[in-house]
C-alpha cells in the first residue's frame, strides 16, 4: 500500500460500468412509460388502431375517436404520467434524505396532510384550481416541519420520526374522511379519489398545475441531487465535502413536499406510489446512481399500469389507488419486518 505507482494493470473503471447500467435501466423504464402511455391511449373498452389515435391527437376527427382519445384517454394518461412522476420523485427524495425507505411522504403524513388540506379547501372554503394546490403545499410543509420538530429529526430518520409521522397521518386521514362525510353532494367516485387516489375523469386543466410543479420542483431537485447524494454519507462527511447539510435538507424538503402536494391535490393520495418507487428503482439500479429519475419513471409506470389494470384487467373497475395500495401493503410489511432485523436504509 505504498503511494508509489507500480506497474498495475489498467483497471476497468467501475464508474463507467455503473453508468452503463443506469443508462440501460433508465431506457427500459422510459420505454415502459411510453408503452403504458400509448396503451392507455389506444386500448380501453374498445381498442383503436394506433393510426386512428394519432390522427385524433393531431386534430383529424376519425369516426368519433377524437372524443374518446382527446377528451377521455389523453387527459387520463397525462394525469397518470405527471402524478406518477411527482409521487415517485417526491417519495424517493424523502427516502434518500432521511436514509430510510419507511420515511416516504405517504407513510409519514405529508400526502395525508396535502389530501386533507385539499379536501378542506374544496369543500369548506369552496376554492378550486391552483389555490387548492398551494393550500396543500403549505399544509404539507407544516406537517413536515412539525414531524422534524417532534422527533427532533437531525440527519437520518429514526423510528421516532416514522412513528410520529404515522400518527399524524392517521389523524389527518380521519379529518379527510370526516369532511367527505359532510360533503353530501359528492358521489362515491369523487370520495374515493380523496381516500385512495384516482385519475378518473381527469381534465387537462387539472393536469397543468401538476405539470408546472413537476418542472419547478423537479428542477430544484435536479440541482440539489448531487448534494443529496453526498448527504447520504452523513452530515459530517457531507460538510467535509463542501455540502451544506441543512440547506440541502431544506431545499429537498420544499421540493419533495411541493411535488407530492401538487400531485395529491389533483389525483388524491394515490396509495403507496411515493413509497414503492424508490425501493423498486434502487433494486433495478443496484447502486444508487441516477436514483431520482429512475424512481420518477417507476412512479409513472406504477400509476399508468395501476390505472390500466384497475380499469380493464381486473374483474371490478377500481380506482388506481386501490390497485397500488394492494401492491404496496405487503411491501410495507416486508420492510417493517426487515427494518426490525437490521434497520434498513435506502
Amino acid at each position: 500500500m505504498s503511494i508509489a505507482i507500480t506497474h498495475a494493470a489498467p483497471r476497468t473503471v467501475p464508474r463507467r460500468r455503473i453508468n452503463r447500467r443506469s443508462a440501460l435501466v433508465l431506457c427500459l423504464l422510459g420505454g415502459g412509460v411510453i408503452f403504458l402511455f400509448a396503451l392507455t391511449l389506444t386500448c380501453g373498452r374498445g381498442c383503436l388502431a394506433p393510426s386512428a389515435v394519432l390522427s385524433a391527437l393531431f386534430g383529424h376527427d376519425s369516426a368519433g375517436a377524437s372524443f374518446v382519445v382527446n377528451d377521455l384517454r389523453f387527459p387520463r394518461a397525462a394525469m397518470s404520467l405527471v402524478t406518477g412522476l411527482c409521487f415517485g420523485l417526491g417519495g424517493v427524495a424523502f427516502q434518500v434524505m432521511l436514509r430510510n425507505p419507511l420515511a416516504s411522504p405517504d407513510i409519514v403524513g405529508i400526502s395525508a396532510s396535502a389530501g386533507a388540506a385539499a379536501v378542506f379547501a374544496i369543500v369548506i372554503l369552496s376554492l378550486n384550481g391552483w389555490i387548492v394546490s398551494l393550500v396543500a403545499v403549505c399544509a404539507g410543509l407544516m406537517v413536515a416541519f412539525t414531524i422534524w420538530g417532534l422527533s427532533s429529526g437531525r440527519g437520518g430518520a429514526g423510528g421516532r420520526l416514522i412513528l410520529v409521522g404515522i400518527g399524524i397521518s392517521a389523524m389527518l386521514d380521519s379529518v379527510t374522511a370526516y369532511i367527505i362525510l359532510e360533503a353530501p353532494e359528492w358521489d362515491r367516485v369523487e370520495a374515493l379519489r380523496w381516500l385512495t387516489g384516482s385519475v378518473n375523469g381527469a381534465q387537462l386543466t387539472e393536469v397543468a398545475p401538476v405539470f408546472a410543479a413537476l418542472v419547478v420542483f423537479g428542477g430544484m431537485l435536479a440541482v440539489a441531487a448531487r448534494d443529496l447524494d453526498v448527504l447520504r454519507l452523513g452530515d459530517d462527511t457531507a460538510r467535509a465535502l463542501g455540502v451544506g447539510a441543512d440547506k440541502t435538507r431544506l431545499v429537498v424538503t420544499l421540493a419533495a413536499v411541493g411535488l407530492v402536494a401538487f400531485a395529491t391535490s389533483a389525483s388524491g393520495p394515490i396509495a403507496f406510489v411515493a413509497f414503492l418507487s424508490g425501493p423498486i428503482a434502487a433494486r433495478l439500479l443496484g447502486s444508487s446512481a441516477a436514483i431520482l429519475p429512475a424512481a420518477a419513471l417507476t412512479g409513472a409506470i406504477l400509476v399508468l399500469a395501476g390505472d390500466f389494470s384497475g380499469q380493464f384487467l381486473l374483474p371490478a373497475r377500481l380506482p388506481v389507488g386501490v390497485v397500488t395500495g394492494a401492491v404496496g401493503a405487503p411491501f410495507l410489511l416486508y420492510l417493517i419486518v426487515r427494518a426490525n432485523k437490521n434497520g434498513g436504509s435506502l
Binding site: 505504498s2 483497471r11 437520518g156 448531487r226 459530517d236 462527511t237 447502486s287 434498513g344 435506502l346
Partner: protein, 275 residues
C-alpha cells in the same frame, strides 16, 4: 506540489448547545507537517477537528485558514483545500467501494462538470494507496471493519486536499495496517506536502509519526510541541491520569510510553507510589 496552508484557531470556544467542551483554545497546525492530537475519551478531540473544519459552528473565537475566517469561505472552495475523515462515518446501504471513494471528488465538481479522467486517476490512486483496489466492486456492508476503514481513508485521499484532518484513522486496523496507514500519511506529507492532523490513541505511534504533538485535557490544550518534549511522564499523568515510564523507542529514537498498571508490573520505579 501542494501549497502550504496555515490553519489556526484563535481563542476558540467550541461545544454543543450550552455545553462548552473547549475553552479559549489557540493553536496553529504547522504547515507541511504532521500533527497528532492525543487526549482521553470525551476530552474534545473530535469536537476540535469538527470545529476546525467548520462542521460545528464555533461558540466564540475564530478559525482562520491562511488568515481568512473559514466561516466566510465558500463551502466548496474550503472542501478543495481541507478534508476531514470523521470518526464514525455512515455508508449508505449497497454502495460500492469505488463509488464511495468517488464521492471524495464531489468538491471538485459543479453542476456543469462531468466525471473526467482526472477523477478516475484520483480514485485509482487512492484505492491503490490504501491497498483496496481489489475490493473496488465490493459493497461496503460486506467488508471487514479494517477494510471499511481503508475505504473511508481512500475517499479522503481522493479529495486531494492540501490539508487533511483524520479522526482516529487507525481504529479497527490491525497492527500492520495501522503502520501502513501512518506510513502512507507520511508518504503524502513528504511526497505531496500535504499538511496532516490526526487524532490518535496510540501515544507511541503518535510520538513516532508526528512532527507536532497536541495533548488535549481539561477543556483546553495541556501542551503542544515536538513529541520529544511533550510526551513525558507528567503529561501522561496529567492528561490520562496514568502512571507511566518513558523510554526511548529503539527503532525511531522517539519517546515511547510504557504504562504502569496495578498488575503485571515486575519492576516498579521506587520514586513513584501508586495508591
Amino acid at each position: 506540489m501542494s501549497l502550504d496552508h496555515r490553519l489556526e484557531a484563535q481563542n476558540l470556544c467550541a461545544g454543543y448547545e450550552k455545553q462548552a467542551i473547549l475553552e479559549n483554545v489557540s493553536l496553529t497546525l504547522p504547515a507541511g507537517k504532521i500533527t497528532a492530537i492525543v487526549g482521553g475519551n470525551a476530552s474534545g478531540k473530535s469536537t476540535l477537528l469538527r470545529t476546525l473544519t467548520r462542521i460545528l459552528p464555533t461558540v466564540s473565537g475564530s478559525v482562520l485558514l491562511d488568515g481568512q475566517s473559514v466561516h466566510t469561505m465558500p463551502s466548496r472552495k474550503l472542501a478543495q483545500i481541507m478534508g476531514l475523515l470523521p470518526q464514525s462515518p455512515i455508508a449508505p446501504e449497497g454502495i460500492t467501494v469505488a463509488d464511495l471513494v468517488g464521492r471524495g471528488r464531489h468538491p471538485h465538481h459543479s453542476l456543469f462538470t462531468r466525471w473526467g479522467s482526472a477523477d478516475d486517476r484520483a480514485v485509482d490512486q487512492a484505492l491503490r494507496a490504501t491497498g483496496i483496489e481489489k475490493l473496488a466492486e465490493r459493497e461496503i456492508d460486506t467488508l471487514s471493519g479494517g477494510q471499511r476503514q481503508r475505504a473511508w481513508i481512500a475517499m479522503a485521499l481522493a479529495q486531494e486536499t492540501d490539508l487533511l484532518l483524520l479522526d482516529e484513522p487507525t481504529t479497527f486496523l490491525d497492527v500492520s495496517h495501522q503502520i501502513e496507514v501512518l506510513d502512507l500519511l507520511v508518504d503524502m506529507n513528504t511526497g505531496r506536502g500535504t499538511t496532516i492532523a490526526m487524532v490518535l490513541h496510540d501515544l507511541n505511534l503518535a510520538a513516532r509519526y508526528a512532527d507536532h504533538l497536541i495533548a488535549v485535557a481539561d477543556r483546553g490544550i495541556y501542551a503542544e510541541g515536538p513529541p520529544s518534549e511533550i510526551l513525558t511522564e507528567s503529561m501522561v499523568k496529567a492528561v490520562f491520569g496514568l502512571e507511566s515510564r518513558i523510554i526511548t523507542d529503539p527503532v525511531s529514537g522517539t519517546p515511547s510510553m510504557v504504562p504502569l498498571g496495578r498488575h503485571k508490573v515486575i519492576s516498579r520505579p521506587c520514586s513513584r507510589k501508586i495508591a
